[in-house]
């Protein structure tokens, strides 16, 4: 890239930044949050556990909570099974062993923020390229995503 081009880019960029800031207001927080996720500069946590509402490690007991498993199974059967198999890939990846590949937080973030994950997370981007279908948000609440994780852990342990 020529020096001239660099300079002109710099000028353009600073003008843009200025324009943005000049017109900004109380949405500046939102903008910076957006900038963070759009850039590859993800935090260690995000790289490991995904981007979304789960921002810190959650407690996962070694023992399986069977009540939670039942709840998770019901949601899975209503909202996930159209596209996922436990054994073998379908529209999306197989899920029988997903808990071996990903952390609980990662799976929850993928369920709760699928477009953020496929747009901004390297693993999500890779999966989108492989499967060519964006995973939709299925109106699953945070506690429900936790229940699905429990169901997937249970399946993984028993199969």
């Amino acid at each position: 890239m020529s020096f001239l081009k660099l300079v002109s880019r710099f000028v353009l960029l600073s003008t843009l930044l200025f324009a943005l800031q000049a017109c900004g207001g109380d949405d500046s927080d939102q903008r910076s949050a957006q900038t963070e996720t759009e850039e590859p500069g993800l935090t260690e946590f995000e790289l490991e556990h995904g981007i979304g509402p789960i921002t810190e490690r959650i407690e996962v007991d070694d023992e399986i909570d069977q009540e939670l498993v039942t709840q998770g199974r019901n949601i899975y059967e209503m909202k996930c099974e159209m596209c996922h198999n436990m054994e073998g890939r379908m529209v999306g990846p197989e899920l029988g062993n997903v808990m071996e590949r990903r952390s609980a937080e990662f799976v929850m973030n993928f369920i709760l923020n699928p477009s953020g994950m496929t747009n901004n997370h390297p693993v999500g981007q890779e999966l989108l390229q492989e499967y060519m279908t964006s995973m939709p948000f299925q109106n699953v609440k945070e506690d429900e995503a936790r229940a699905i994780v429990e169901f997937l852990r249970d399946y993984n342990q028993n199969n």
Binding site: E77, M78, M82, C83, T133, N139, V140
Partner: protein, 659 residues
């Protein structure tokens, strides 16, 4: 067919030279255009891409039978809500869920003429819970909920011919009103000579109670009145909130050539009904129960099939039988069309379409006249009050053919004037015209944003006109009906936009968007899907046979159906495809259509289940596919159904995913 170069000479549009000359003599020169500088006007209606309008406008479809939703001021069409007419685009009136909504005591009726949308109110102000709209031809009232923007209920009105004076609500939506435009014999299917009109025909004013929780309608009672034509109605406000007002014409009781025969009397009536007192009389047992067949169609749960509740009786109050006074006639010149109540509830404005003035009655004068016994005569037990005792003023020089009036809450009224095709603005203090502006062309109703409430916003006004003629690029002998958007925030009315609409936009209402935008649903939640044939567990997708009836429980998501290969259907079967859209993302819609089905598509919204009925008549392989462009792999979203001969032994089978 004649090709005609139309100049915008108003005279040409008036349909008769005499009327044109009369209009000219009467109103003087056409008013100044009142069109603001084009740049200013453009800026006022400009809503940037991605930005939202300030108001929702709900325009009736007239002879389309539907209700269209517009963003104001940009005047962009947001949606057409199907109500009284079948809509192949959405499968409304074709799907098994919605077909029952069209059932009446006359059978399945696929069309009607929808005229007056009215938004539910609390304390005299629009609250945006529901919007009601009337069917004119086969008298009905529909309720549309403003969470899903879908028709949820339709109630038929018995003893009614042409439900035109409808579907206006009272101040707290206690009642929605209906009124018979054409008086008819009261008893069901009475076969009498037409010239027995005065003896056998009667008018009906209907009072439909509304459940405040659910919005469900119930025909509480009907008032039997003399056989005039009951044209329009409005509820009172504030001090007059216990009253509703209906215009009448044809007090001559003509039954032929009404154009001439119903225009003889100098005055007809505005009927003032104390609905609260009438309701009390009914409660106290003064009503009479008579037989009457009518349909009440509604959904019992959030989803599923509309049901038909067939009613067989109605309670009536006959003014000839009851001593208590609860209805009064206010003489009003001449064949009045609209009756409109100002935001304070004091002024009752008649649109005397053949009158040379706009008559304005005073509600407090009316109460005084009742107290003072200023009664000219009784007609079937109804006191006719003295005109001079109730009138507050007459607006002179309003133009030819004043029809409807709305108010800005700042002391001014705006009246549409049909024959001279204009809107006149006049003062409620002086009853003098202060401004006038042209309408393009032949204006019927007008509407002020936030109007017909105690607190109009009065930023914009919409004129709903009957012919477009040369206003847009020509599209054949019939043009779409236009509407005009005016700015009424200043002293003068100013024209901002002129745009074509759907059907005949007969009347409209507009509500501030922020009053309802947060309640609008983005999905049907799967957990709340109570459709009896919903696919709530994906693994339960299946095909079931009961004799010659086959039920297919199918799911749809981006980008496949489950099941998508089905065999064992036979010629002569009646097949129901119950398609559940398993998406939970806003605005992701799937549809299904199958080759040769004598039906429309179905188009379930996210989380919704819809049922398509199909009766295959030929053997073969029938492809079906998703009709909504849902994803990059939309073209892959397809399936096959094999139809075998009636006596074949192909087993019922279904599968997905294994080639």
């Amino acid at each position: 067919m004649k090709k005609q170069k139309t100049k915008t000479l108003r005279g040409l549009l008036l349909g008769g030279g005499f009327v044109a000359v009369a209009a000219f003599l009467f109103t003087g020169c056409p008013s100044q255009q009142g069109m603001m500088d084009t740049g200013d006007a453009a800026q006022k209606v400009y809503v940037a891409p991605g930005e939202h309008d300030e108001y929702y406008g709900f325009f009736s479809g007239g002879y389309s039978g539907q209700l269209s939703v517009w963003g104001l001021p940009s005047s962009r069409l947001l949606k057409v809500i199907p109500v009284f007419s079948q809509d192949p685009e959405t499968g409304y009136g074709y799907s098994e869920e919605t077909k029952p909504l069209f059932e009446t005591s006359y059978g399945f009726i696929p069309w009607d003429d929808s005229h007056h949308p009215h938004i539910s109110q609390t304390d005299g102000d629009a609250d945006g819970r529901w919007i009601f709209i009337n069917a004119n031809n086969t008298p009905r009232i529909a309720r549309i909920d403003l969470e899903t923007f879908e028709t949820k209920e339709i109630l038929e009105l018995p003893n009614t011919g042409g439900n035109h004076a409808s579907s206006f609500v009272t101040s707290n939506t206690e009642y929605v009103i209906g009124g018979t435009r054409f008086s008819i014999p009261y008893e069901t299917d009475l076969d009498v000579p037409i010239d027995s009109y005065s003896d056998e025909f009667r008018g009906a004013l209907s009072f439909i109670a509304v459940d405040q929780e659910t919005g469900m309608m119930d025909l509480d009672f009907q008032i039997v009145v003399p056989p005039y034509n009951y044209d329009l109605g409005r509820a009172g406000k504030g001090p007059s909130a216990d009253w509703v007002f209906f215009t009448t014409y044809n007090t001559e009781e003509a039954h032929t050539m009404l154009e001439v025969n119903a225009s003889r009397n100098d005055k007809d009536f505005i009927a003032a009904v104390n609905w609260r007192k009438a309701a009390e009389l009914v409660e106290q047992g003064h009503g009479e129960t008579i037989s009457a067949e009518y349909y009440h169609n509604y959904y019992e749960g959030k989803q599923g099939y509309a049901i038909n509740d067939v009613k067989d009786q109605v309670t009536i109050l006959d003014t000839r039988e009851i001593d208590d006074e609860f209805i009064y006639y206010l003489p009003t010149p001449k064949s009045p069309h609209g009756v409109d109540i100002d935001p304070t509830g004091e002024f009752i404005v008649g649109g005397g379409k053949l009158a040379t003035v706009i008559p304005v009655h005073s509600f407090s004068n009316m109460l005084q006249a009742i107290e003072d016994g200023e009664i000219e005569e009784y007609i079937d037990g109804i006191p006719v009050l003295n005109y001079d005792a109730t009138i507050a003023g007459e607006v002179e020089n309003p133009g030819l053919g004043p029809l409807h009036t709305e108010f800005d809450g700042r002391g001014y009224a705006y009246t549409s004037v049909y024959i001279s095709s204009e809107i006149v603005k006049w003062s409620l203090e002086t009853f003098e015209v202060v401004d006038r502006i042209d309408a393009y062309y032949s204006i019927g109703h007008l509407m002020i944003t936030g109007g017909d409430t105690v607190d109009p916003d009065a930023q914009y006004m919409i004129g709903l006109t009957k012919t477009a003629k040369d206003r847009y690029l020509p599209t054949g002998p019939k043009q779409n009906h236009p509407a005009q958007l005016y700015d009424i925030s200043g002293d003068r009315m100013e024209l901002l936009l002129d745009f074509p609409t759907i059907g005949e936009p007969h009347y409209a209402q507009a509500i501030r968007a922020d009053k309802i935008v947060d309640q609008v649903a983005q999905i049907y939640e799967m957990e709340e899907n109570d459709h009896p044939h919903a696919l709530l567990r994906i693994a339960d997708n299946r095909v079931e046979r009961e004799g010659n009836t086959v039920h297919i429980y199918m799911g749809a998501t981006r980008s496949h159906f489950r099941p998508d290969n089905i065999e064992g259907i036979k010629v002569g079967d009646t097949v129901y495809i119950h398609l559940t859209n398993l998406e939970q993302e806003w605005d992701v819609v799937h549809g299904v259509a199958i080759k040769g089905a004598n039906n429309a598509e179905i188009l379930p919204a996210p989380g919704q289940t819809k049922t398509l009925k199909w009766e295959p008549t030929r053997t073969g392989i029938y492809p079906f596919y998703c009709t909504a462009f849902c994803s990059a792999l939309h073209q892959e979203m397809q399936g096959y159904i094999r139809v075998s001969a009636e006596d074949s032994d192909v087993d019922l089978a279904w599968r997905t995913g294994t080639n």
